[in-house]
């Protein structure tokens, strides 16, 4: 049973001892100044290495900087008012392999609420994760951050349910960042009776673009839209649950055709400029997926005989099961509707993010007001789908990472 300790980097410590220590030491306070200082320091150190950061890590740098932390602190205080919110204790996180920075968000969100944290990382480490661990370990080794170091543990291990069991027995909150299969596996391991669990299951995301707005936009704006789309989809090879895979074009037929032209030309131009690091065998994957959609009668037009990116699949019918067939990797499903409201009935609970372009606030509010009974947890502008938010997948994480103590005896003399 090999458990590798990734953080804190201290010699000669057995993971079980570190785990014991974490469960015994008292948690910190919500928004403790030391926690804030720690995160700001991480932000600073990351900024120094700005040149070696990709845009995902740059976003993390901004999320952890003083200005942003102060902003979410203000939001938190407004929500909290004069209630007594305390940490739950030890939070155990299982983070996915596809989004490098996610373990930091999960950890920090929980730490801001005062919790101590144990994180299990995938054994497959990307260069970005290695960089992050290096920075985190460096900052944590500073003497002043000792209290945080004593309340943090990052490990990685193979498929050993026994270890998951040991970790789960010591936690107060278990967070599982997807997918459905992982959730099933980990749920088989029981939790202490008072512990709670947060799960992020398989999700699907879509986009809606208003044709009229694309047509009226300047070339610069269209290029920006392309760049934003690129960021939210291709950057993660479309594997993020927030990455739009199905694009709804809204408007009249002619406008849509012209808008598509402008949009896809801009994407193609961008693709030729950027060096996309596709996984091996992406060609066959795209082709098989496209052919499958066609064979099932879901798609009536494929953009290429071969595998050329962007791989566009035109939908004849927007069938519910098309979500399970999509394999990511630069495949764009497209459908047309005359109004935004028309896509409501096509939305299922599995749908998470709707990325939009070209709609007025009024149109979006009207749309959102009708969402009850359908899916979607968030509506964002295209380009911000990957922005991590405190409220994710419908969970207000600050609330879940907190326990509230109510005192009704205050007025007594």
């Amino acid at each position: 049973m090999l458990v590798k300790i990734l953080l804190p980097k201290r010699a000669n410590r057995e993971w079980r001892r570190l785990l014991s220590q974490i469960t015994l030491v008292r948690p910190m306070k919500p928004f403790a100044s030391l926690s804030l200082a720690f995160m700001q320091e991480v932000s600073k150190v990351l900024m120094i290495r700005e040149r070696s950061l990709n845009s995902e890590l740059k976003k993390l740098t901004h999320w952890t900087n003083k200005a942003h932390l102060m902003k979410i602190y203000q939001d938190y205080k407004a929500k909290r008012q004069d209630r007594f919110l305390l940490p739950r204790g030890v939070v155990l996180h299982f983070t996915p392999a596809n989004i490098d920075s996610l373990f930091v968000y999960s950890w920090f969100m929980s730490l801001l609420m005062g919790n101590s944290n144990v994180i299990r990382l995938s054994r497959n480490k990307s260069p970005q994760i290695t960089l992050l661990l290096e920075v985190l370990n460096n900052v944590l080794s500073q003497k002043r951050f000792r209290p945080i170091q004593e309340r943090s543990l990052i490990v990685s291990y193979g498929h050993q349910q026994e270890i998951t069991k040991e970790l789960s027995q010591r936690c107060h909150v278990r967070v599982i960042w997807g997918g459905d299969q992982t959730i099933r596996e980990i749920r088989a391991v029981s939790l202490p009776s008072r512990a709670i669990e947060i799960v992020f299951a398989d999700r699907f995301s879509i986009a809606a673009i208003k044709a009229e707005t694309v047509l009226a936009a300047s070339a610069r704006e269209v290029n920006k839209l392309a760049k934003n789309t690129y960021h939210d989809t291709l950057f993660f090879t479309q594997k993020g649950c927030f990455s739009p895979k199905l694009f709804f074009w809204i408007g009249k037929k002619k406008a849509i055709n012209n808008a598509k032209q402008r949009f896809w030309s801009a994407i193609e131009k961008l693709a030729s400029q950027e060096e996309i690091d596709w996984p091996k065998g992406i060609g066959i994957a795209r082709m098989t997926t496209g052919y499958r959609y066609a064979a099932e009668g879901i798609a009536d037009e494929l953009s290429t005989v071969s595998t050329k990116f962007p791989y566009r699949i035109h939908l004849q019918k927007v069938k519910k099961n098309l979500r399970e067939i999509h394999s990511g990797g630069g495949i764009f499903l497209e459908a047309e509707k005359t109004s935004l409201m028309a896509i409501l009935e096509l939305i299922v609970p599995k749908d998470q993010t709707l990325s939009v372009y070209g709609f007025s606030g009024h149109e979006l509010k009207r749309f959102a007001s009708q969402l009850s009974g359908y899916g979607l947890d968030r509506i964002v502008p295209i380009g911000q789908a990957s922005n991590f938010q405190v409220v994710w997948d419908g969970y207000d994480l600050f609330t879940y990472f907190t326990r509230e103590v109510t005192i009704n005896a205050l007025k007594e003399r």
Partner: protein, 370 residues
């Protein structure tokens, strides 16, 4: 031109230009036939932005990635005409492919197979020792590729012996009797590579027994991965088997479930050969452009035998390389090539594992998120 004319005693006569024209023509007609009788195939062709047209080059024909047969039914004949559903081998949780076979396809496959094997054995009927065991028949209509292959061999034989019992042990008495019975005749042995190594070679070595099958020929298929550690390489495999069995000829062949009836036999020079009625093209794994000889890429296979399912032009996931055409020192015409094994997929990362799951099932994929 009837395809059966190509099932000769020595199906390696056609040279490039003639072969291309002939096959392209046959395969084009077959594409149309499948288009008209297999609705999902038709839907795929109609969704493509460029429609295909009659051509003299096989590489211009539309192709299907083999994975598609794992996702749904592709059948070009009425349900009632299907006499067999061939199931590709798969590990416990891997989704198998299903190939729908009718009488005509089965017939052609048997004849094609006999043509290739017969050309190597130089006889049309011969006694065969099958180095395998019977496996319980699960379903009357569904048959897995292992059993199907054994059946194909039985069909070529004048007499056969199933060498192993249910526990995969050699039936020594039966072997003895069979050798006596067929004494003098040229004997053929067939088995899957790892089974031959594990359950024929090893037991002989253990018993310190050597057979003297001087006029015998051993055919094996199934890849080297499983025995790589033990046999070290194909040369060592051949050497050791020759020593233990007294054989003069050992032939490896490459085939697949979706390409029933087609065996790409390895020649005396160690090259795999395309027979007159089949061909291959190598493609770049990402752009899928066809590659010239000497370049490694995905193997696309062509077979005019696939009548009941659209398996006449398939993109496999095996990596290979064309070594030459019409000029192999062994004297056979046609393309000759090498297979390097399955393409390995890059790490599949994702919150949801639908990508890997739909292709690999659970056991082969990198476990999602962990």
């Amino acid at each position: 031109m009837n395809i059966e004319h190509l099932f000769t005693n020595h199906p390696y006569l056609l040279k490039a230009e003639k072969k291309q024209k002939l096959l392209a023509n046959l395969l084009w007609k077959l594409s149309l036939q499948h288009k008209n009788h297999c609705p999902p195939y038709q839907r795929i062709l109609e969704a493509l932005p460029v429609s295909s047209s009659p051509t003299d080059r096989i590489e211009d024909l539309p192709m299907l990635p083999v994975r598609l047969f794992k996702t749904r039914e592709f059948r070009s004949v009425p349900q009632g005409s299907v006499i067999r559903i061939l199931q590709s081998s798969g590990t416990a949780s891997q989704i198998p492919a299903h190939i729908y076979i009718d009488k005509r396809t089965l017939e052609l496959a048997a004849k094609a197979f006999l043509s290739v094997i017969g050309s190597a054995v130089e006889k049309k009927r011969f006694p065969v020792i099958l180095v395998d065991t019977t496996s319980p028949i699960q379903d009357e209509n569904t048959i897995n590729i292992r059993n199907y292959t054994l059946q194909a061999w039985k069909h070529c034989s004048s007499d056969f012996l199933l060498l192993l019992d249910e526990a995969m042990n050699i039936k020594w008495k039966e072997l003895d009797a069979f050798l006596k019975k067929t004494g003098g005749e040229r004997l053929v042995l067939f088995g899957f590579t790892f089974i031959i190594w594990q359950h024929l070679y090893q037991p002989l070595v253990k018993r310190k027994l050597r057979l003297n099958l001087t006029d015998g020929i051993l055919f094996h298929a199934g890849g080297w991965k499983k025995i790589k550690e033990h046999a070290k390489d194909s040369k060592a495999f051949k050497r050791n088997l020759t020593k233990q069995l007294g054989l003069k000829k050992i032939y490896n062949f490459y085939g697949m479930t979706e390409l029933i009836g087609i065996a790409f036999l390895e020649c005396e020079r160690g090259h795999l050969h395309t027979p007159d009625f089949a061909d291959i093209v190598i493609r770049d794994p990402d752009s899928l452009k066809s590659l010239p000889k000497g370049r490694q890429g995905l193997i696309q296979v062509f077979s005019p035998l696939a009548r009941s399912f659209p398996g006449h032009s398939l993109l496999t996931e095996d990596l290979g390389e064309v070594l030459g055409e019409d000029d192999c020192p062994c004297g056979r015409n046609g393309k000759y090539f090498r297979v390097y094994g399955r393409m390995s997929w890059a790490e599949i990362r994702g919150c949801s594992n639908t990508y890997a799951y739909q292709f690999y099932g659970r056991s082969n994929s990198k476990k999602e998120c962990l």
